[in-house]
C-alpha cells in the first residue's frame, strides 16, 4: 500500500520538474483525467483486493471508457454551449466514492 503515495509523489515530482506542455484551455479535460484516474485507481484497488480479477473487467477498460465518455460529454457541451462539465465528472466521482466506500471499516 505504501507504493501508492510514493508513486504519486514521484509522479508529482516528475510532472513538476519536467517540461510537459500543458495549456490551461484544456483544464476541463485535465480535471476529467484526474477524476478518471482516481476512479480507475480506486477500482483497481478494490479489484486487486477482492481477489477476483478474472470476474471484473480490466482497469484500463474502465479508464478508457471513463475518459471517452466524459471527454465526449465535455466536448459536446462546449460545442453546444451547454456546460456539461460537471455532468461528465459526476459519475466518475460517484464511482470513486463508491470504491473508496468499500475500504471503510464495517
Amino acid at each position: 500500500m505504501w507504493a501508492i503515495p510514493v508513486l504519486i509523489i514521484a509522479g508529482f515530482a516528475i510532472g513538476y520538474f519536467t517540461k510537459i506542455p500543458f495549456d490551461l484551455i484544456g483544464s476541463k479535460y485535465l480535471a476529467l483525467c484526474f477524476i478518471a484516474l482516481l476512479d480507475s485507481i480506486s477500482y483497481g484497488l478494490t479489484r486487486d483486493l477482492s481477489g477476483q480479477k478474472k470476474n471484473n473487467p480490466p482497469i484500463i477498460i474502465r479508464l478508457v471508457l471513463g475518459l471517452a465518455l466524459g471527454g465526449f460529454i465535455i466536448y459536446f457541451g462546449e460545442k453546444s454551449g451547454i456546460d456539461l462539465y460537471l455532468v461528465a465528472l459526476l459519475p466518475l466521482t460517484v464511482g470513486f466514492a463508491l470504491n473508496m466506500y468499500k475500504f471503510l471499516p464495517k
Binding site: 505504501w2 507504493a3 508513486l7 509522479g11 500543458f22 490551461l24 484551455i25 483486493l49
Partner: protein, 253 residues
C-alpha cells in the same frame, strides 16, 4: 495481523494500478506548474477557465479585427492613391483644356492690355486724291493685329459699335464694300481693337517710328491708345468645326 495484511495488500496491487498512480501524480503536478508560472493570484478553477475561454475568444476576435483593419487600411490607401491620381490627372486635364480654350478664343478672358481706337475723320481730300486712302481698310486692321501678335498679344478682339468679335486662328478680316467683315460680322468705323498682353510692349510696338500706325496718320485716321490694367474680352461667338483636319495618330506612324 494488521501489518501482515498491509504487506499482502501492497504485494497484490497490479502494475496497472501503480502506473495509474504515477500518472495521477504527474497529472496533479500540472496545475501547480501553471499556477507557479503565473505570478498572479490563482483564481478558482471554474472562473479561471471562463476567463481563459473568454480571453481566447477575445484574442481570436482581436486577431480578426486586426486583419480587417489591415485590409481596410490597405483599401483606404489604395482608394486615396486612386483619388489622388484621378484628381491630379483631372486637374492637369482641366488646366490644359482651359489653356487651349483660351488660346482658341473659346473662353472669355481678362487681363491687362491696350485699347486702340481707330476712327476716320471727316476730311476734304485734295483734288485728284482717291478718297479710299482716307478710309480704314482690311490691310490696316490686319497689320495692326499682326503687330499686336508680334508684340505678344494673347487675346485680341475688335469692337465696332455694340459688336465685339474675338479673333481666333480662323478669323477673317476683309473689306466688303465700305464695310469691314470681321468673323462674318459687318463692322463700321470707329474700331476699338483690344489686345491682352504687356501694355508697354503693345504700346511701343504700335507707336514705334515707321510702325503700323504712322502711315495712318498721313491719311487723317486718328488712333488713340489707352493702356488698361484689366479688361475682359468675350469668347468667339461662332462655331469651330473641323471637317478635314484630323489629328495625327503617332502609333500608326
Amino acid at each position: 495481523m494488521k501489518n501482515k495484511r498491509t504487506v499482502r495488500i501492497g504485494l497484490r496491487l497490479s502494475g496497472t494500478t501503480l502506473v495509474l498512480c504515477l500518472a495521477l501524480g504527474i497529472l496533479m503536478a500540472l496545475p501547480f506548474k501553471v499556477i507557479s508560472q503565473d505570478s498572479s493570484e490563482p483564481l478558482p478553477s471554474e472562473s479561471r477557465q471562463e476567463l481563459i475561454n473568454r480571453m481566447s475568444k477575445i484574442d481570436e476576435e482581436n486577431q480578426l479585427l486586426r486583419t480587417e483593419l489591415e485590409q481596410s487600411r490597405a483599401s483606404v490607401a489604395s482608394l486615396e492613391a486612386n483619388v489622388a491620381q484621378g484628381q491630379e490627372a483631372s486637374q492637369e486635364l482641366t488646366d490644359s483644356l482651359t489653356r487651349y480654350r483660351i488660346l482658341a478664343g473659346l473662353d472669355p478672358v481678362h487681363g491687362p492690355g491696350i485699347k486702340l481706337t481707330l476712327s476716320e475723320q471727316e476730311t476734304q481730300p485734295e483734288p485728284g486724291t482717291d478718297m479710299a486712302y482716307y478710309l480704314i481698310h482690311q490691310e490696316d486692321l490686319l497689320n495692326i493685329v499682326n503687330e499686336m501678335r508680334l508684340a505678344g498679344a494673347e487675346a485680341i478682339a475688335i469692337r465696332s459699335r455694340n459688336r465685339t468679335e474675338r479673333l481666333i486662328n480662323t478669323s477673317t478680316i476683309r473689306c466688303v464694300g465700305s464695310l469691314i467683315d470681321v468673323n462674318n460680322t459687318r463692322m463700321t468705323p470707329p474700331f476699338d481693337i483690344f489686345a491682352i498682353g504687356d501694355p508697354d510692349d503693345l504700346y511701343n510696338a504700335l507707336t514705334m517710328p515707321y510702325g503700323v500706325l504712322e502711315p495712318l496718320g498721313f491719311y487723317n485716321i486718328q488712333s488713340d491708345i489707352v493702356k488698361l490694367d484689366d479688361m475682359e474680352l468675350p469668347p468667339y461667338g461662332g462655331t469651330t468645326m473641323l471637317q478635314y483636319a484630323r489629328p495625327v495618330d503617332n502609333e500608326e506612324e
